[in-house]
């Protein structure tokens, strides 16, 4: 049985933990707002970009000589999985659910006899994958020193991906990140980057007119597609940043509540034990007096 002193210490330590989780929750809430604004602000660019590429792609379809970034290399053998996660833990299932989705995807590809390469963005994803899939990890970047994601970081990642693609490193690239739905719901998502996924883009209504392109469609696409990779990665990173803060906020909220429950339980136990001791001492005094 724990002594009164032990219980007191225990309560003090849980209280200290609760203070920390409470503080982390508030920090996450403040960061979440900023991250969410950034993610929302970045949406128009990637949407417009998708729309333009969709327009061009429908104009190019059926014509030979479409860029490989759009049409693919014609093979489906080597897959690159770009796994974007957070730099820090203590955010609930955020990192592990992205890693899990990537793992399932990799297992499926391996079972089909495909070659899998993994590119991890963010320290936690690398940690989660390197034990079992270490031999597949070909590249890793982390942004531990970066406070606010900017387009330059996404460009650096895109640059590496494109470099690998042009050297024949892979045929298909898929980006794994967590889509920010709401504070309590983040959805791990896989998005195909190469060849570009234009299924979601609706061509604009031109009222029967045809786009005039300057320079030619092919040339515009060649200029646009590499940029689109960077834009999509940027979007993924921003969604991830917002999701991470959301996940951390709810995880820390839970932890704070659990700590509160624990303090209540421990306090009751402490009070009971103290009462028992007082009663015991009283009985001793009374029976001592009666014996006289």
């Amino acid at each position: 049985m724990a002594s009164l002193k032990d219980l007191r210490n225990r309560i003090a330590s849980v209280k200290a933990t609760r203070k920390i989780t409470k503080a982390m929750q508030m920090v996450a809430a403040a960061k979440l707002r900023r991250a969410q604004e950034a993610a929302v602000a970045a949406r128009p660019y990637s949407e417009r970009m998708q729309a333009v590429i969709g327009n061009l792609a429908s104009a190019m379809s059926g014509k030979a000589g479409a860029p490989t970034l759009l049409a693919g290399t014609g093979f489906d053998q080597t897959h690159l999985l770009i796994v974007a996660t957070a730099e820090r833990g203590l955010c609930g299932g955020f990192n592990s659910s992205i890693a899990k989705l990537a793992r399932e995807h990799a297992d499926r590809l391996i079972a089909q006899g495909k070659t899998v390469k993994i590119f991890t963005v963010g320290k936690k994803g690398n940690d989660a994958l390197k034990r079992v899939y270490g031999k597949y990890i070909v590249e890793h970047v982390d942004f531990r020193s970066v406070k606010q994601m900017s387009f330059a970081e996404a460009q650096a990642v895109a640059h590496k991906v494109l470099g690998m693609f042009h050297n024949g490193g892979f045929d298909v690239a898929t980006l794994f990140f967590s889509e920010f739905k709401s504070v309590i719901s983040q959805k791990p998502t896989a998005q195909r980057l190469i060849p570009a996924d234009v299924s979601g883009a609706k061509p604009a209504d031109l009222g029967g007119a045809v786009y005039e392109a300057e320079p030619e469609e092919g040339e515009i696409l060649a200029d646009l597609l590499p940029r689109n990779i960077a834009v999509q990665i940027f979007r993924g990173l921003l969604e991830n940043a917002a999701s991470e803060q959301g996940a951390r906020m709810s995880a820390m909220d839970n932890a704070t509540r659990n700590a509160g429950d624990m303090i209540n339980k421990l306090s009751i136990k402490y009070n009971r034990q103290r009462q028992a001791q007082i009663t015991k001492e009283l009985i001793e005094i009374i029976s001592g007096a009666e014996a006289l």
Binding site: A41, Y45, M49, E212, E214
Partner: protein, 131 residues
């Protein structure tokens, strides 16, 4: 006559959205003026200055470092990675842009990519005294 709906978008945010009288763009194949009712067109941009004429006639000049523009019946959309009002472009900003273009050139593989990087750098250098 109805104004031209113009949107200027950078990866980080929507910079401008509204109705304007006309926009002049530095297209890869030459400057072009876009007025309301322009036929649908797609073009890439070279580094240069976009001039936006408001409905009242006041003009704004914005420096862009490449990008692309799309005109459709809904209006004009300009996608640019770097877009800074000319008034805020200082010598430092230009020097920074040129330095990053030089880096790109050094990193580019010989051939097409190198030629393009070189072009961007030269266009930036040509712009420097003008701003």
């Amino acid at each position: 006559m109805a104004g031209l709906h113009f949107e200027l978008v950078s990866p980080a945010r929507l910079l401008f959205s509204g109705s304007v009288a006309s926009v002049t763009l530095p297209g890869t194949e030459g400057e072009m003026g876009i007025y309301p009712g322009h036929s649908p067109i797609l073009t890439t941009l070279r580094p240069g200055v976009v001039t936006v004429t408001r409905d009242g006639g006041a003009a704004e000049r914005i420096f862009v470092k490449g990008g692309m523009a799309e005109v459709n019946p809904q209006g004009l959309t300009l996608l640019a990675e770097v877009a800074i009002p000319v008034a805020e472009v200082t010598a430092d900003v230009m020097a920074h842009q040129i330095a990053s273009a030089e880096e790109d050139l050094a990193a580019a593989k010989p051939g097409e990519a190198q030629r393009k990087a070189m072009e961007v750098l030269n266009q930036l250098k040509a712009l420097q005294p003008a701003l």
